[in-house]
């Protein structure tokens, strides 16, 4: 009997701890993550991610384009036009971060009638897709980011552009929809325009203008639409479509171009000697003898630092390496000697000529904006359309205005920056006036082709730090003329100590469009074969 009592009590204990209450297993909700999305939180996320991916942060898309427009030189596989599908990482980020965030804003916004959010999201989405078409040509679009479709088909770029133009129009209509409830509106959480809807409409129209300009040699070009845009609301001085960065290192909200370079312990972004010599007026073909006043804003020399290994290219304190170098010093290190990216492209240091030592994160703020479409861009586009298509008013005026606005843009960025450096304004200075006068004199003396080359070269200079449009411009117009590593078409200096250019070569042809990332080719059953990056062009690239 005693035995049985013990056994029963034993069983009872067992069943007590084993007894599963109802719901014991219903614990599969993550306590740390929201299950609801909010438009006001999605918008800054999408904007920041888009700016980051397109920037000149080390190996970001703008960095890669920067190498192929010969403003940046790099040592890794991109050199000698060696880009391959393994180098493309930001495709994945663009498709999986900003685009789904924007789609979610559109979905929620439509449901709740927050039409300003919907409109802004559509304009941003059109911009991101247009940049992707410009880099890759055919890309997934019509089936991309659709629930239930794991392998979207690739749509030709020429089929995507019209949809983007329509998407922009819808975006403008949503923003200006006066009957919408708009219980919530973008405000400070809109990192680009702080909720200023008029500026969004102008940005949208200028984006359309830019797209029409890019296709002006294709049947898609529509002079009527362009004329309507030129007569309408376009970006004005001070209304640039760009996103400012912050100055915090933790969390790091600085411009990636500056953050990677100044905090890193190796140099990754070398200033192209080709770019340097054109701005110095050393190039025998273009802007010869005209010294650009923007140089101290564009890059910063490290002078007086520790002398390191022999550099490849050295002109005074300017130290860099060559694209396509075969020189014996091509791989030499020099963290404290190489010239670094400066204030204008990414919030690096303004070169006041007084800096000694090694540039580090504390020497600059990194808050300069990522520029998508600027007021000078608008003017350069107008100049191109006037000169080449005869649309709008005088090309010369637009060009001169664009030059003036290019300097004013730098002044505006100085004013907006939290930098503690004293950085002088450019507009109205003698140096700038002299520069503009000299460039316009060249323009006036030039043939129409040369005039176009001058316009595109100046646009390229202005675009420093925002490389993808310059890469597009070069491929569709052939300007500015780029460095040819096989013939060395005009580099003057060299190094060390003026010992002349080092041998360079490049056995691959120019990259006419980026390769597709291996991940997409491996995973998407509807993906095409990898393109030939030297021949498979984007649809607007008809200039040979």
């Amino acid at each position: 009997m005693m035995k049985n009592i013990k056994f029963i009590s034993f069983l009872a204990i067992v069943l007590l701890f084993a007894g599963c209450q109802k719901g014991w297993l219903d614990i599969n909700n993550d306590p740390d993550q929201p299950t609801v999305a909010k438009v006001d939180l999605l918008l800054p996320s999408a904007e920041q991610r888009m700016a980051n991916d397109l920037s000149i942060g080390y190996q970001n898309l703008g960095y890669k384009a920067g190498v192929y427009i010969h403003q940046i030189v790099t040592r890794e596989s991109l050199d000698k036009y060696g880009i391959s599908g393994g180098d493309i990482t930001f495709w994945d980020d663009l498709y999986a971060r900003p685009i789904p965030d924007l789609d979610k804003i559109i979905e929620i916004g439509k449901e709740k009638d927050y039409m300003q959010y919907v409109g802004v999201a559509k304009i941003l989405k059109a911009y991101v897709y247009s940049q992707m078409v410009d880099l890759w040509g055919s890309i997934p679009f019509s089936q991309a980011d659709s629930i239930g479709i794991e392998s979207p088909v690739f749509d030709p770029g020429a089929a995507i552009y019209p949809s983007l133009l329509k998407m922009i129009d819808e975006g403008i209509a949503d923003i200006t929809n006066s009957t919408a409830v708009n219980e919530f509106k973008p405000s400070d959480n809109d990192l680009i325009y702080k909720g200023d809807m008029d500026k969004w409409v102008r940005a949208a129209n200028t984006l359309k203008l830019k797209l029409y300009d890019q296709v002006r040699l294709t049947p898609m070009f529509d002079p009527t639409a362009v004329n309507a845009l030129l007569a309408g609301k376009l970006i004005e001085e001070g209304g640039d479509f760009m996103m400012w960065f912050g100055t915090s290192t933790n969390p790091d909200d600085r411009n990636p171009g500056m953050a990677d370079e100044y905090s890193g312990s190796q140099i990754s972004t070398y200033i192209s000697p080709w770019f340097f010599e054109i701005l110095k007026g050393m190039n025998p073909n273009i802007l010869t003898g005209i010294n650009d006043p923007r140089i101290p804003y564009y890059w910063c020399n490290q002078s007086g630092g520790v002398t390191e290994a022999s550099p490849e290219y050295m002109d005074g304190d300017f130290v860099s390496i060559y694209f396509g170098s075969d020189g014996i010093h091509r791989d030499a290190g020099g963290r404290s000697t190489f010239t670094m990216v400066g204030f204008y492209p990414c919030g690096g240091r303004y070169d006041d000529g007084k800096f000694t030592g090694t540039l580090g994160a504390a020497d600059a703020t990194g808050d300069a904006p990522m520029r998508f479409i600027t007021y000078p861009d608008r003017l350069f586009i107008e100049a191109e359309l006037a000169l080449e298509q005869g649309i709008g008013s005088d090309a010369r005026t637009h060009f001169e205005d664009a030059l003036t606005a290019s300097f004013k843009l730098i002044d505006n960025i100085i004013d907006g920056s939290a930098t503690t450096q004293t950085i002088p304004h450019l507009s109205g200075t003698t140096a700038v006036t002299d520069y503009i006068t000299a460039v316009m004199a060249d323009y006036d003396a030039a043939t129409k082709d040369k005039q176009f080359e001058l316009i595109m070269t100046e646009k390229w200079i202005q675009h420093w730090g925002s490389s993808i449009d310059s890469y597009t411009d070069y491929r569709r117009t052939g300007y500015p003329i780029m460095f040819d590593a096989n013939s060395n078409n005009g580099l003057q200096s060299g190094g060390p100590n003026g010992s002349g250019p080092v041998p360079t070569s490049c056995s691959r042809g120019y990259v006419v469009a980026f390769p597709y990332p291996n991940t997409e080719l491996d995973l998407n059953v509807n993906a095409p074969k990898q393109r030939s990056i030297t021949t498979d062009k984007v649809f607007w690239d008809v200039n040979n």
Binding site: L41, E150, G246, N250, S310
Partner: protein
Amino acid sequence: MRKITIMLAFLFFAGLNFAFAQTRTINGTVKSADDGTALPGVTVRVKGTTVGTTTNLDGKYSLQVKPDYRTLVFSFVGMKTQIFTIGKSNIIDVEMQASALAIDEVVVTAIGISRQTKALGYAVTTVRPDKLDQEAQPDMIRSLAGKVAGVDITSSSGAPGSSTRITIRGNSSFYGNNQPLFIVDGVPYSNNNFTTSDLNSGGGAYASGISTLDPNDIKSMTILKGAAAAALYGSRASNGVVVIETKSGNAEVKKGIEITISSGFAAEKISNLPDYQNTYGAGSNFVYNNYNGSWGPRFDSRDSIPTWPMYRAAFPEMGDSVPYVAQPNNVSGLFQTGHVAENSITITGGNKNTNVSMTASLLGNDGYIPNSSFKRKSVNFGGNTILSDGLVLNGSFGYTTSTQIGGRFGNNQSSAAGTASSFARTLWLARNWNMSLPYTDPVTGESLTPNGPGQFDNPLWSWQHNTITTNVDRMVFNVGLHYKITDFLNAKALFGSNTFFQRRQEIIDIGSRAEDGKGSLTDDDVRTNEIEGTFLLAFNKDLFKGIHLDARAGYSLNQRTVNRKSIFGKVLIAPDIFTMDNTNSVTPNGSTNSERRLYGLFYDMSFSFKHYLYLNLTGRNDVSSTLPVKNRSYFYPGFSTSFILSQALGIENDVLNFLKLRASWAKVGSDAGPYLINTIYPLRTVSFPFMGIPGQTVSNTLLDPNLTPEFTKELEFGTDIALFNNRVRLDVTWYNKVTSDQIVTIQIPASSGYNFFHTNAGAIQNRGWEIGLDLVPLQFDNGFKWNIYATFTKNVSKVTQLPAGNKRVVLAGLFGDPEPVFEVGQPYGILRGSVNYRDDNGNLLIDPSTGLLILSTELQTIGDPNPDYLMGMTNTFSYKGFALNFVINYTHGGDFYSNSIVSLLGRGVTKDTKDRESNYVIPGFYGDPNTGKPLLDANGKEIPNITQVSENDLYFGNSFAINAASEWGVYDATVLRLSNLSISYEIPKKLLTKIPITGLTITFTGNNLWFFAPHIPKYTNFDPEINGYGNSNVQGIEYSNAPSVRRYGVNLRITL
């Protein structure tokens, strides 16, 4: 149905029953001479007849014999056969001695079930600690290498406490855990490896969770290799199970007290450094430059070089120049002699009703790298007591605290702000760099290097300043209640908890290349807890004559909790103070809180017929919290059989002692991770809050609300054979394991809007052979014995299905080149990377403008990290109290990508690249770099390359080492290794009678004494076993890790 099977089996084998006549009855008990325990299942036979029986569970037998029967033969596998003449007495008690290695012993299988190995229809291996502790190896798992067929063990680095990866029968999961489940005294023991920093760019040699287990407290380790053996453990058993019984948790019936003291000391050194050339110093193409490449001028060609800039600035008194001379010891001088000291005491004692055991141990290991160490202190206590008739209470409690201090390892060739590997340049320093100069700037405290700043941190500085400290406290307890209801029915309840606290701090100090020289701190605190309760009813009875049923039915529940919190502080304010309060800004660095629960019902039925035919049926049904409600309950059965052919046929001779055939089939189900069903919208943390504005994003991982459990199915056949009086024993196993509908986070095309999809997809097959051979080649009556235990392991993995028709999926991103991938029809995690163009005949294409190779734009498969086969051989020579033991391990095949070898060659520091004063022509044909096609001459023929290049170019550029296609960095990891050599002496007991010591053994041991890797560039002396990614699934990629260790030690074991 089951009943019919039993009946059929009974009828079939009834015909084989022994016949006997009635005269008188001999009774007796058979015991083990070792420990006096009763031996069940011993065959007792009358010599020259088929008359015989076997002993029962209490070791008793009863045999009726005729008057003309003269001799009884007692045989038992694993024991020496005993022969007794039948005399007048009707009682013959026998003590049997163990022979060679006991195959046929009692082992603990799943859920604490004790079974004789001969009853098992699947392969298990039990390893006694005395097989392991002769190796001066602080890591218990590491010393298993080569000792268990089917088990692959790889170590991650030579840093103290660094993790060891163990896999059984290959990798069966794409992304999930592939390591076995550890069960200690019936309770799962988490073996998590919490990684804080990315190993791609400089992370720690993080320890795995099992490192907190005290090897001194281990009584036995049983490795359940296949699904059939492990299935009762449920979800996590698909990778096999390592069942560990501790001394403290299983105190044995002993009267009085016994004290065992074990004390060991070992010295450790870096196992192998390259053979460096000391003819050329820094520079390129024989021109001096202060490069980290020793391609410069001969040392006899110039007297001096400019003083290294950082040193010139820090120590102006050094002047403008320093002598240009070789520094032959600049690498070896960085390292020190480390040591391992281990002391342990075990006290056991008890009386008739109660037994207790306590083990306390202290381990200290200072590595060969300055300022690296692993220290462990542990106390384990346990016991059992008979509360009343048939009611036994047992319990144990263990506490371990460990501290690991170490530096940062891995690749440094990254510009990212936070990276600094102490091995970035350590093994390929320029040959003229004087590393005995001060490594700290006396004013700024900054790291000084000959070609700094920024290239790399001086390794000595880095080890002193950039430290990673991990403290772990582990608390384990379990209690059990055992009640004997009737003779044939037992009830058992077991409840245990395993709690793990980890506190880690990673320091980047002021003055490092990383973090802009400003310093940073990362704190990473983790708590995990696992609770498991099991209730079991056991039935043990003869059902019919000759048919015995040993059955269990049970219920178990499990709960696992993980709480992790990590924060990151940037810019240290005051030097040498490492607390978050001393940083400029602090941001969250990821935290997780998760909880999962599961309960399962299971049964295990083992029928035995006449002790030579065994049939085992198992089944388990789990219900898991992590799966969708509709799919969360799932069942999986198992079946196994063992047939002792030798016994069934009554074969008994000096040639064949034992022959067993076995077969099994089983299925194991597995659930998902927690929180992987419901859609979430994570808050943005990278760069956010952005200028104070918070963000949220659509998750880039798509979740599957219809997730189903994943199943592993395994078929296994095997045989165990003993020959020549048990002097040859062989066990052979073949298996085929398929894991399908895996729960994986697969990569999907980003254009879908997601990067990843967590779903059921893909299948992997592992097929292989395991052979264990136990030989006694020599044995003399004077006590001399030579024993060989050899293992052979061959596993062939094959990805049989990938998600949704994908061509390949990437295992892990890493640097992108090379990367481990999965492709259908290919082995697990093959390496894919960049290659050079070749013509159709496989000849290399040469760029006419450079004379060097042309990089292809396409990646290709460049290696398979899975070894072809593994062999291990343990030799033991024993004579009286002396024993000489050595272990040789051999790994055949398997490729690995070595950043270290690429760097050693590319930096021109080893003797491999010493002969360099002539030019070379790379054999090949000219090709077009744009198309990757051969250039043809006027006759349409390929043009042979005649362009000369320098030796320097062969190893730096589009050639064969640095900056080359990654195919050239892949090497065959074949390696033959003398893993261990030990000599021990056990003082004879009779010499100890006058002192209060009952046993004393002294052992001298040497560990990792020699290896030979035939396919590794000769003078790099690189040990191919080092894996850069710890115990993750990424194998065969090495990025500048700490080389392996060699140890010499002595161990003293005293029993009081």
